[in-house]
């Protein structure tokens, strides 16, 4: 035909769109790589750590109460009942991380659903759904979570669901914004012009293009959920003893702050490390997927 028809030489023929570039950008984001490595290490440590250490997380040894951290014996010291703090931290991490991940799954799924419906249908659907989101966001998250947790018998499952119930709104907002802007794009109009039904448009045309922001929001939602679990458990309405979580370990530690500060320091560090790692990873993903949106 003419000179423009020949394709320019392409380096990444048949690749997922921008997939390689995204991965390259992510790798360059040092903090994000640190975050991912830290997440993997934390997950592995919590999953297998208790199996390989010589200490039993449940064995009470009153002779070794409040032993300070030492390289020879208990690396992170022992608590008021003489239990090894490191093993307790790993056991608690299982709970805290599981709650974080599960709450993320629930809140992301629900938030995405609400966001997609509001963004796609627009009109009154959007008004009702998004105003409901606004109304939910008017309540301070911790207030809402505490009140609900106080009303409902706390268990790991209910705490997970409650955290999801109070954190899905951010995802909904991000998704709604994305879908609403995508919906105006010509390729969506083109799909409507060739008779694509609503479900096709949502699943094939809109959702894949909103995947970046959703992944970012999900990653940040884990961070937020871990933090929320820590808050309610610290305040006594979350995971209940004898099950340990990072939050309720800090609750116990509060009264020994003067005499055994390591009881407070290490769980706090664990929470910070876990939350920061997910935040770093989310930030890196945002840069890599070029998904600009809300900040935290």
């Amino acid at each position: 035909m003419s000179f423009e028809t020949a394709l320019d030489p392409l380096s990444t023929s048949g690749s997922r769109p921008a997939g390689n570039r995204a991965w390259r950008r992510f790798r360059r984001h040092k903090l994000a790589v640190f975050g991912v490595v830290a997440i993997v290490v934390l997950l592995l440590a919590c999953a297998f750590g208790p199996l390989v250490t010589p200490f039993d997380p449940l064995r009470i040894d009153l002779r070794h109460r409040f032993a300070g951290p030492s390289f020879g014996g208990n690396l992170f010291g022992t608590d008021q009942l003489g239990r090894d703090l490191l093993v307790r931290l790993m056991m608690a991490g299982r709970i805290s991380l599981t709650i974080g991940l599960c709450a993320m799954v629930v809140s992301t799924a629900f938030g995405t659903l609400v966001g997609i419906m509001a963004g796609y249908y627009g009109g009154w659907t959007r008004v009702l759904l998004m105003r409901f989101v606004d109304a939910m966001l008017s309540f301070p998250q911790i207030f809402l979570l505490l009140v609900l947790a106080a009303f409902i018998q706390p268990s790991i499952v209910t705490i997970t669901l409650l955290i999801a119930a109070t954190t899905w709104m951010e995802v909904a907002r991000v998704v709604e914004g994305q879908i609403r802007s995508l919906r105006e794009r010509d390729f969506v109009l083109a799909a409507q012009a060739f008779g694509a039904p609503g479900r096709y448009v949502m699943m094939r045309e809109l959702l894949p293009n909103a995947a970046g922001p959703i992944i970012v929001a999900a990653t940040l939602a884990i961070a937020r959920a871990i933090l929320m679990e820590a808050y309610v458990s610290f305040l006594g309405y979350g995971v209940q003893a004898p099950t340990a979580s990072w939050g309720n370990m800090l609750n116990d530690a509060q009264q020994y702050l003067g005499s055994a500060p390591w009881l407070a320091i290490f769980p706090g560090l664990a929470i910070t490390l876990a939350v920061a790692s997910f935040n770093f990873a989310g930030d890196g993903l945002r840069d890599a997927l070029d998904a600009r949106g809300d900040l935290h």
């Binding site: 035909m1 003419s2 000179f3 423009e4 028809t5 020949a6 394709l7 320019d8 392409l10 023929s13 048949g14 690749s15 997922r16 769109p17 921008a18 570039r21 390259r24 950008r25 008004v127 794009r185 010509d186 390729f187 109009l189 083109a190 799909a191 409507q192 012009a193 060739f194 008779g195 694509a196 039904p197 096709y200 094939r204 045309e205 894949p208 293009n209 995947a211």
Partner: protein, 628 residues
């Protein structure tokens, strides 16, 4: 020298003046350090801008024309990792100074004082939270040390000078209170505040409507004459070049291809690339005496050889029953601030519009922004539901169809959009995108669909092997071909081409138009072509409808509209189009200083009863009142 009332003057007589250089760019190279390596945006570019002349820097996207000027003024974005080599010498009383070697502070004193610049986007180039007056005064306060009071007085004078009515009261208004054309005037006032020796205008009219463009070009020309400045005019539009430039520098892929007097260049370019570029430029009036559309000549970019374009064969099937019959189509949008606020007004986007399209025919809706042409196109497809009116398509009442039957009928009507980057799903291979209409409507098995895709890719001039690739791997023109293939897969009878070639570079635009004409001949397609580009419209249309503020003011055979325009608006529109022929510069009528009015009306507005007068067969014009 360049006034419009001296039509016969040769455009290149400035050459006889003593040539005093004002700005000399010498061996300029700009290399950007990118993620994947370095990109040579500008390679060894040299040219000289002489005092009092207008030099056009012309090229398609990616030619490096804007980067050249920004690099010379050291205005590339601060974060961009660019390596700049060469010199940009500014000549002045104290001898030439190399702009690239000055300190930041010295450079700052030159910018806005000795060299000023105006940009493409008047909408974003003014600070939204500062008044227009302050933004002009500021230049004077910075470079002339005037007090705010003195500067404001001068700013009022400048606003007058750029012909902004009621200058004193507009001083205190913010940019959003001005229309696009008015904002560009404010930009020009700002640029001229310190009477710079050199004005760099970077695509200053590209974002404007054609009648407004004519006003701004005229303004720049007359101001240049008053102040004797040199103008470096950067553009992609050969028509504008022919209108305004004494000499022209043609750039391609970061390098200068050809430099010469504009008249000589248009009369006979030496380089094949320039020849190819010029041959692809539609020249308004070049279709005089022809009834049917015509292909663009295709020039080989390396050898410069051209084929002879032919008029396309007759494709129109005129019958009792036109393919598409639109009558009384109306679309109004309510304007409300919030959910509970009262109705503030209505956009009368489409107002009582009627037209027919025959099978195999191209009807063009032409007009400027806000005229409702795109809304009409989308309403015809029922992508937007009309407020009133009727649409008969293929003999059926299109508006009465329920979902299932609508889908069936709509498949006979498809659409191509303006922006080829937005009209393909970035997460879907082009093969899937083209096959999607078949899959969604369950019209073919997977292997049949694959065959259809391969066949269509071949038809639109692409290799069938690219079906597995994603849109980001294609250029703009290739994507538009893919969009055409997708529109064709359901074998439509009518394609709505909504500014389908407007975003493409000239040479690509010519190719896509040629493709569309070929497809029309092969498949008997009818097009509802929507465009603001009069020159392209002249090339492709059988019939033309001119729209203004939601209404058709004139409709008829292309020849009648272009050769015997009746309505004042049609005449104004035609007069405003820059003609890509420097010898015909200044042969058109005077530029009217009107602004395009807004189709937003108060809620109680009742559109007046319109009457049409028949000029000749099929050529009808709306009767107008004294507002014209």
């Amino acid at each position: 020298m360049k006034t419009m009332d001296m039509p016969s003057q040769p455009a290149n007589d400035h050459v006889e003046l003593p040539l005093v250089p004002a700005l000399a760019v010498e061996n300029l190279s700009v290399t950007f350090q990118g993620e994947t390596g370095s990109v040579d945006a500008v390679r060894d570019v040299s040219f000289t801008l002489y005092q009092g002349e207008t030099l056009a820097l012309v090229g398609e996207s990616g030619s490096g024309k804007s980067v050249t000027s920004l690099a010379a003024l050291r205005l590339l974005p601060p974060g961009s990792k660019a390596r700049i080599e060469g010199r940009a010498r500014l000549f002045g009383p104290q001898g030439p100074r190399d702009l690239l070697a000055l300190s930041n502070e010295e450079m700052r004193h030159i910018r806005g004082d000795e060299i000023a610049m105006i940009f493409q986007e008047p909408m974003t180039s003014l600070n939204p939270v500062l008044t227009a007056g302050f933004q002009i005064s500021e230049t004077l306060m910075v470079h002339r040390g005037l007090s705010r009071h003195e500067a404001d007085a001068e700013a009022v004078r400048l606003l007058d000078k750029v012909r902004i009515p009621d200058a004193r009261s507009r001083m205190n208004q913010y940019p959003h209170d001005f229309s696009g054309g008015m904002r560009q005037r404010v930009m020009i006032a700002m640029a001229l505040a310190c009477r710079p020796k050199v004005l760099i205008a970077d695509e200053p009219t590209t974002a404007l409507d054609v009648t407004i463009q004519a006003q701004i070009l005229e303004l720049i020309r007359s101001l240049q004459e008053e102040d004797g400045m040199s103008v470096l005019f950067i553009t992609h539009d050969m028509g504008v070049v022919a209108e305004i430039a004494d000499r022209t520098v043609v750039m391609y892929k970061g390098a200068v291809v050809e430099t010469g007097a504009t008249v000589d260049l248009f009369a006979g370019a030496r380089q094949p690339y320039t020849q190819a570029l010029l041959s692809a430029v539609p020249k308004l009036g070049s279709m005089r005496g022809r009834a049917r559309p015509m292909r663009f000549p295709v020039v080989d970019r390396t050898t410069g050889e051209a084929d002879t374009p032919v008029e396309v064969p007759e494709t129109v099937i005129a019958s009792e029953q036109p393919l598409l019959q639109v009558s009384g189509l109306t679309k109004r949008f309510d304007i409300k601030r919030g959910l509970f606020s009262p109705l503030k007004g209505r956009v009368h986007a489409v107002e009582n519009v009627s037209f027919d399209v025959n099978a195999g025919e191209t009807l063009t809706l032409v007009g400027e922004s806000g005229c409702g042409k795109s809304t009409t196109g989308r309403t015809v497809l029922r992508l937007i539901e009309p407020t009133a009116g009727s649409i008969q398509f293929g003999g059926a009442d299109f508006l009465a169809l329920k979902a299932e039957r609508l889908r069936e009928h709509r498949n006979r009507m498809q659409i191509i959009f303006q922006d080829p980057f937005a009209s393909l799903n970035p997460r879907m291979t082009v093969g899937d995108a083209i096959a999607a209409p078949l899959r969604v409507n369950k019209l073919a098995t997977a292997s049949q669909a694959r065959e259809r895709v391969a066949d269509l890719l071949r038809r639109v001039g692409l290799d069938p092997a690219v079906a597995g690739r994603y849109p980001h791997e294609f250029s703009g023109g290739q994507r538009q071909r893919i969009c055409i293939a997708r529109a064709l897969v359901l074998q439509p009878k009518l394609i709505v081409a909504d500014e389908a070639v407007s975003a493409l570079d000239v040479s690509v635009k010519a190719q896509v138009i040629n493709l569309m004409l070929d497809l029309q001949a092969e498949m008997g397609l009818a097009y509802l072509f929507i465009s603001h580009d009069m020159a392209a419209v002249e090339r492709v249309s059988h019939r033309v409808a001119v729209m203004y503020l939601g209404e058709i003011v004139e409709i008829g055979p292309r020849q009648a509209i272009f050769e015997n325009p009746q309505h004042p608006y049609t005449k104004r529109l035609l007069a405003a189009v820059p003609v890509a022929d420097p010898l015909r510069r200044g042969q058109k009528g005077p530029v009217v200083a009107d602004e395009i009015r807004s189709p937003i009306r108060s809620p109680d507005y009742v559109p007046p009863e319109r009457r049409y007068r028949t000029v000749s067969q099929g050529h009808r014009v709306m009767e107008w009142g004294d507002e014209w």
